[in-house]
Structures are given as structure tokens and as C-alpha cells.
């Protein structure tokens, strides 16, 4: 037998459960659609980033570890698309590393985002420093 308080509570809740939470209208939490999350807008500079990283990776083949280590830092900061592979290159490693300064400057000239321009310009300067320290520029 229900106590008086329980009986009153059940009487108040029952109509609500019947009208607003009927079994047919209750959403199955497993099947509920995910919250609306529109895809992130494409980065208009992504092609510049990926082409630059491909050039860096290509230039690094056979180069001294100091250059490879520097470029790891640069690539991490640039955040390329996963799976970017080295661009085909020719010539001696010194020539490829020198050409990379021009590649980075050209990329900075093509980029639209001011932060990316700054990043690429500074990376070019870092590359120039390393070359200068080795008497290559």
C-alpha cells in the first residue's frame, strides 16, 4: 500500500510521463545523432605548407644531421597533411640545402596567413644561419 506522500507524487508524475515521455518519443541514446559539428574549414595555405614540407624532406636525403634536426622542428611547426612525402630532388646536399632558403622565401611570398608568413620567413632565416655557420652562405 502506498503512503499518502508517495501516492500524491505518483499522481503528479504520471500524466507528465504519459504525455511528454512516451516510449515512442524517447530517443535511444545509442542511436541519437551526434551533436552538430561542421567540418573545420579547409586551410587555404595547406597546399603551400605541404609543398614546402615535401621540398624539405627531399632536400634532407644525405644531408648532415644538423639540417635534418632543424627541419624536424620546422616541419612540426608547419603542421603538414599526414602522409606528405619527399619531393624528388637532384644535386649535392649543399646545393639542395641552399635552394631550400629560396623555397622557404617563395613559400612565405605565396602564403596568405600572417602567422604562416612569419613562420616560413623565420624558418628561412634559421636555414640561412645554419648554412652561414658552415661557410655555405
Amino acid at each position: 500500500m502506498l503512503s499518502r506522500r508517495t501516492a500524491v507524487g505518483a499522481a503528479v508524475i504520471a500524466p507528465l510521463a504519459a504525455s511528454a515521455c512516451s516510449a515512442s518519443e524517447t530517443l535511444d541514446p545509442v542511436k541519437a545523432p551526434p551533436p552538430s559539428t561542421p567540418p573545420a574549414p579547409a586551410n587555404p595555405d595547406q597546399s603551400v605548407i605541404d609543398a614546402t614540407v615535401a621540398a624539405i624532406l627531399g632536400a634532407d636525403k644525405g644531408s648532415p644531421s644538423a639540417f635534418v634536426q632543424l627541419h624536424r622542428v620546422h616541419i612540426e611547426a608547419l603542421a603538414p597533411t599526414k602522409g606528405v612525402t619527399a619531393a624528388p630532388t637532384t644535386g649535392r646536399w649543399q646545393e639542395r640545402q641552399l635552394a631550400l632558403v629560396t623555397t622557404l622565401i617563395t613559400a612565405a611570398g605565396r602564403a596568405a596567413d600572417p602567422q604562416l608568413i612569419t613562420l616560413l620567413a623565420s624558418a628561412a632565416a634559421g636555414q640561412q644561419q645554419l648554412l652561414h655557420g658552415r661557410g655555405l652562405a
Partner: protein, 143 residues
């Protein structure tokens, strides 16, 4: 002239003003350095001076090509204080090159086209000169 072109030329003008100051300060620092007793430092200062003069000429040419009067140098600039020794001269020159590098880096995004390319090329030169004055290479000079 469009706004973008105007902003780009202003960035080049700002870089030109920096070069005027750098030439003045490096001239003064060179006057404090003996080519006999400190040949390496004297050579580094002379190379830097020549580099800055070349940069000034290149920047002025860009401004003139845009149909604008290049910014003129000031009559006088603040000089580094309490230098006192070759080490002090070297440190002051290095600070100058570090400041120049940082300034070029801040100006590069404001410029477009060949103006931006020139600013980054000069940024690279300034970064390289830091090594001649005792700095270590960095991944991102100017930041």
C-alpha cells in the same frame, strides 16, 4: 595606389628607417674598434656595415619604384651606452642585428609581392650576421 600596396610600401619604408639607424650605430661601433688589436671584430663590423648599406640601397630602390620619396635618415640616433671594451662593442652589434632581424620578421607579413621577398631576404642576411658576432644558430631567428 591600393591600400595593400600602400601598406606594403610602408613596411619597406619602416625597414629603410631601421637600416638608416643600423648604419649610423655600426659606424660608431666601428670607430671604437681597432683593426689591429681586434681584426675579427673589425672585419665583422665592416661586413655588417657594408651589408646594411646594400640593404638600404635595395629598400630605397623599392620605395622609389613605388613612386614615393624614401624616408630620410635622422640627424642623430641613440648610441649604445657603457660599451667600454671589445666585448661590449660585440654585444652591442649583436643586439643591433637581433633587433633588425626581429623588425624584419614583424614587417614581412605586412608586405606583398617583391616587397615581402626583399624583406625576408634581408631578414635572412641579418640572421646570418648574428653568427659573425657570436650568436648560436636558432630554429626560428627573430621570434
Amino acid at each position: 595606389m591600393t591600400t595593400a600596396t600602400s601598406a606594403s610600401t610602408e613596411a619597406v619604408q619602416a625597414a629603410l628607417a631601421v637600416e638608416h639607424a643600423a648604419i649610423y650605430v655600426l659606424g660608431a661601433l666601428g670607430g671604437l674598434t681597432s683593426a689591429t688589436s681586434s681584426p675579427d671584430l673589425a672585419r665583422a663590423l665592416l661586413d655588417a656595415y657594408d651589408d646594411h648599406v646594400n640593404a638600404r640601397e635595395a629598400l630605397a630602390a623599392h620605395v622609389v619604384a613605388a613612386g614615393i620619396e624614401p624616408v630620410a635618415p635622422s640627424a642623430v640616433y641613440d648610441l649604445p651606452r657603457r660599451i667600454g671594451s671589445d666585448a661590449g662593442v660585440r654585444a652591442a652589434a649583436l643586439r643591433l642585428e637581433q633587433d633588425t632581424t626581429a623588425t624584419y620578421l614583424s614587417l614581412a607579413p605586412k608586405a606583398t609581392g617583391s616587397d615581402r621577398t626583399l624583406l625576408i631576404q634581408l631578414l635572412c642576411r641579418a640572421a646570418a650576421r648574428q653568427l659573425d658576432l657570436g650568436a648560436k644558430p636558432r630554429a626560428f631567428p627573430g621570434t
